[in-house]
Symmetry: none
Subunit: 231 residues, 2 copies
Amino acid sequence: MSAILVVEDDPRIQKALHRQFTTEGFTVHVAGDGAEGLAACKSLRPAAVVLDLMLPGMPGRDVCKAIKSWSPNTPVVVLSAVSEVADKVLLLELGADDYVTKPFSPRELTARLQAAIRRTQRPASGSATAVQVSFGLVAADFSAMEFSRDGVPVALTANEIKLLRYFIEHADKVVTREELLNDVWGYTSYPTTRTVDNQVMKLRQKLEADPARPVHFRTMHGIGYKFVSGT
Amino acid sequence: MSAILVVEDDPRIQKALHRQFTTEGFTVHVAGDGAEGLAACKSLRPAAVVLDLMLPGMPGRDVCKAIKSWSPNTPVVVLSAVSEVADKVLLLELGADDYVTKPFSPRELTARLQAAIRRTQRPASGSATAVQVSFGLVAADFSAMEFSRDGVPVALTANEIKLLRYFIEHADKVVTREELLNDVWGYTSYPTTRTVDNQVMKLRQKLEADPARPVHFRTMHGIGYKFVSGT
DNA sequence: CGGCGATGTAACGAGGCTGTCATTTGTTCT
DNA sequence: AGAACAAATGACAGCCTCGTTACATCGCCG
């Protein structure tokens, strides 16, 4: 099972996180400060790192940079107080994969951690989303964020792109609206299932040859949706 | 159906949560204080607990700890005012699975609750059904929700799929109509046993080579049905 | 062999689910 | 601050599904 490295100085949080992740099935290692964390990261090769920004000695941001420079593929989730992340850009500069502000729910931290692990493990396991995909008359380039149907350029919004990517990553498998809400919309916003229908409709109208008779974005009545790339 | 225990002293919130969860299909029990909540938790064995941190008498945090020490697998979602969880440590020490700050949206609470239930129940109940199954001329793929008989694709409805899955999970064993109604249809709806006959007939017509002479979905006269995968 | 209960089958209607549009809300850019 | 776009919500119609009912058939038992 995956190993998690927790870099945190507060013993109470250490204990709490240890219990939390252990019950989730992870192997947990704890480091009390930045130097110890770096050493543990190099020796343990954890599947992910949970890093508190407030650490004695070395600043958490330097720890994060060091980890990322040494093994860029190890996902790092940062714990921080609200005031510390007034600027989200800072975190991106650090190279952190995600961050959670206090107070946070255990579920949210675990979810973001697992999402981060999933993201970084995907390219390794080979099921990586190709940068360029084509199905039917549609050509998609997730690098340039350019999409076209039958050669005609189509503009997609951010949500539509995320939804399309999720569909492509789960091609030929049925996904429920709840799964879409959790994985595409995220666990912090809770729209209605109607919203999902609307976004799917938008994708159909923009990408399907005949939006009224969808070929790629199929409805599974009473279950959810399924994306099929077709021939 | 799942039962939810609400530990909350404010009658207005009691009423609101009761209505909210009832419409979501849960059975709701309400406790007014911590002691009552603990007792109800032990006797009712709810699928999840919604716990207010501000309670008369016993502090909510102690109630949470008690619940978690008594049955660690019961998910607990904490309701709290913002100021009460200024320190993230408290929440983690409590062992709560998630938290929602007041004022909260009913949808968000429900979503987090269901997520918590799903997460704790998944490993327990075990998705023992293989993703792909074949028997006789039939091939079933429960991931893509695609089914075929003799190579010809067959469209199954949501209920038919659930029924088929239940049959496969209980292969070579006799199941009564009452068992099917309880496990496939659930405790919230009370159809006639003839409904079961109809759905079984649908499965036979769609999957059996000769629906009039069923091989896989056999009738056990006066008892129920039995699914045999055949050779 | 005949009666009776249980089961197979088909048709109908209510209810739920989904597609779609219109409106409101939120966000970003100027 | 205002405009423009995206996203979310609500409303409504159409369709599909499921549950019920009625009738035909089958199987058990005397």
